[in-house]
Amino acid sequence: MKIKLAISALACAAAAPAFAGKPEVVSTYVAIAHAGYEDSLIKARELQAAVDALLAEPSAQALEAARHAWLAARVPYQQTEAYRFGNAIVDDWEGKVNAWPLDEGLIDYVDPSYGGASDENEYAALNVVASPSFLLSGNEVDASQITPELLAETLHEADAIEANVATGYHAIEFLLWGQDLNGTDPGAGNRPWTDYAAADACTGGNCDRRGAYLKAATDLLVSDLEWMTAQWAEGGEAATSLAADPDAAITAMLTGMGSLSYGELAGERMKLGVMLNDPEEEHDCFSDNTHNSHYYDGIGIRNVYLGEYTRADGSVVSGESLSSLVSAADPAVDQALRAGLDNSVAKLGRIKIAAEAGTSYDQMLGGENQTGEALVMAAVDALVAQTQDIQRAVNVLGLQEIGFEGSDSLDNPDAVFQ
């Protein structure tokens, strides 16, 4: 008995100094997700209240208050994006709330420079706000009442075109700010509050329908976030399935970190915009809030690794971290990854600093703006470099293949035969 105890004590000491168990690491991950989606929901409800106030009594102040509520709502939501690529339940859902980029002419009036229907999207200039009925993919659509169901079930991704974004943060953003017609010059969208005014004061036409659209989109955002918050609560599907398979959960954590860092944020959202010199390639393009949406993506990636999240009310959710798990396997890999995450957050922070001091993200995309390009590309490089360290963490933990995001063949081998 005594000998056996001594051996097992020795074995523990040798194998796992200060070892954090995978189940504890996973429960931190789930707790942060739940807090993040719940914060997003709380802030979306505040946005909903601000929209209701705007529609009840339109004014410049009420529009400004709704814009502020939208900006605040983005802070927790963007931090949850680190959950997207590792978790099918999030990835399958996120298009409802954060689809981008959008052909905004689907929703409302646009400037003539926008152009009309395109080869790629014949509904790019449909203008639902101005159209109580229209033909869509050969079917007559009754849009006399603009409801959440109309947006979610008929208009969103209409004609199987992803740019037909009818719901979510960016549709609401467009309805609050309007098009940003300043190109790579200073200035965000400048929709007048009178776009929501009654009777003769109404500008842009169809103010009641525009208000109905804004209301429907905001209500839908709230209900979508209610659903996702429930998935991460105790007994929810996301929480339960991750707890049941901690190895798969750890893989999901690192997959989400790496895919958001590399292909999505560094590639699709940042590098592409710089290389196209195109302000439409800006994630929060109507509000000029892109510096924050990128920054909080970076914070969210680091949260997952450090097992720590600062809630919207200032309280902190924390617990056993992925970092401690990696450190137990290989301290050098952990150290490099922590340093990499700090570096990317710092580089994304520089973009935020410049933007808040008046040089907006779309200005940084200008073809002539070498300084802006350097600022954005430094963050891109940091994100690409940190992906290599995330990869090393995957390898030292001996995890199985990370998910290849977006591939039906690998996510779901049966899909190809359907």
Partner: protein, 326 residues
């Protein structure tokens, strides 16, 4: 116990195929692309009208298919892969940018350094395709603006191809010294083979999901106009050439016979060869569509074979891919 320990300290066999992949597939592909792009620039200097440039454009695109899957290292730097070929282009930016430059007769085409700062939608093979094959644009004469614009694109491509070739010389040394002290990029031998393995699977995924998946669209809404480089009749040719390059890479990377992988490549290449539909326009009718769907399934089956045969044997799994994301 002792055997297990010994095995644990044996060097991993993972480096086995890196030297072969570099020597047999990658470096020859970079040389060929540099030579073709150089010839394209030379042809433009002699005669920049569309009929005169088309053969060299086709050769250059052919050569590009030998390396478009190498999305890390020199092609990742400065976003070169995207600059050389900006595709997919879901918002039609290439057509808009090329027409914008042409309608303004933007003088930037006269200055190589300035042109290198132009939006990538106005540079590279896809922009050149607009000038050489679009019905409205391609009729320009030797003294017209588009002629100078095409020359600028050709020179820009040649410069990038040359830089990529030179940098691959360095990068291949980095891969071959993976895990040695002072190598900051590849900290272990397995990291170099994992990068190639990821590129291999990423290339197959791109062929199936993008090159075929985009024109396939959905059954109710096929999108033949979204096929890659359809104006220059390249959609099917690109698939065939890409498969050939990926097959060479797979063979080089493995240090054992890979019969299942070889058979899977053969099946897909045979289907592509028999398709007789250069633009993949057949996706719009049920019979033609079925053939393209079969090809897509066969390409996905290659990935499965590679994972079993090469991934399993070398202990490799795919890493993060620059095309992860939306």
């Amino acid at each position: 116990m002792r055997l297990a320990l010994l095995l644990a300290f044996l060097p991993l066999p993972a480096l086995a195929g890196v030297a072969e992949a570099v020597d047999d597939q990658i470096l020859p592909a970079t040389e060929r692309f540099a030579a073709s792009a150089g010839a394209l620039a030379g042809a433009a200097a002699a005669d920049c009208t569309a009929p005169a440039l088309r053969p060299a454009y086709q050769d250059t695109f052919d050569a590009w298919m030998g390396m478009s899957h190498l999305t890390f290292g020199p092609l990742e730097r400065d976003g070169r892969a995207l600059t050389i070929e900006f595709w997919p282009d879901p918002r039609g930016r290439v057509a808009r940018t090329v027409r914008g430059l042409a309608s303004e007769a933007d003088p930037v085409v006269g200055d190589a350094a300035g042109f290198a700062q132009v939006s990538i939608a106005g540079r590279g093979l896809m922009a050149l395709e607009q000038l050489l094959y679009d019905e409205e644009l391609s009729g320009y004469g030797a003294g017209d603006y588009p002629c100078r614009y095409a020359t600028a694109i050709a020179r820009d491509l040649a410069a990038m191809a040359e830089a990529v070739q030179a940098e691959w010389q360095d990068h291949s040394r980095l891969m071959l010294s993976a895990g040695e002290p002072g190598n900051p990029r590849y900290l272990a031998e397995s990291e170099a083979s994992q990068a190639l393995y990821t590129a291999l699977l990423g290339g197959l995924e791109f062929d199936a999901d993008q090159r075929l998946g985009r024109p396939l669209g959905s059954f109710d809404k096929p999108r033949p106009r979204l096929a890659e480089a359809r104006r220059s009749d390249r959609p099917l040719r690109n698939i065939s050439l890409s498969l050939a390059a990926l097959r060479d890479l797979a063979v080089a990377l493995s240090d054992a016979p890979i019969p299942a992988t070889q058979a899977a490549f053969e099946a897909a290449q045979a289907t592509a060869g028999a398709l007789d539909d250069p633009r993949l326009a057949g996706v719009a009718d049920p019979a033609g569509r079925l053939k393209v769907e079969i090809l897509q399934q066969q390409i996905r089956a290659i990935s499965d074979a590679i994972e079993a045969e090469i991934g399993g044997a070398l202990g490799l799994t795919a890493g993060f891919n620059s095309q992860d994301g939306d």
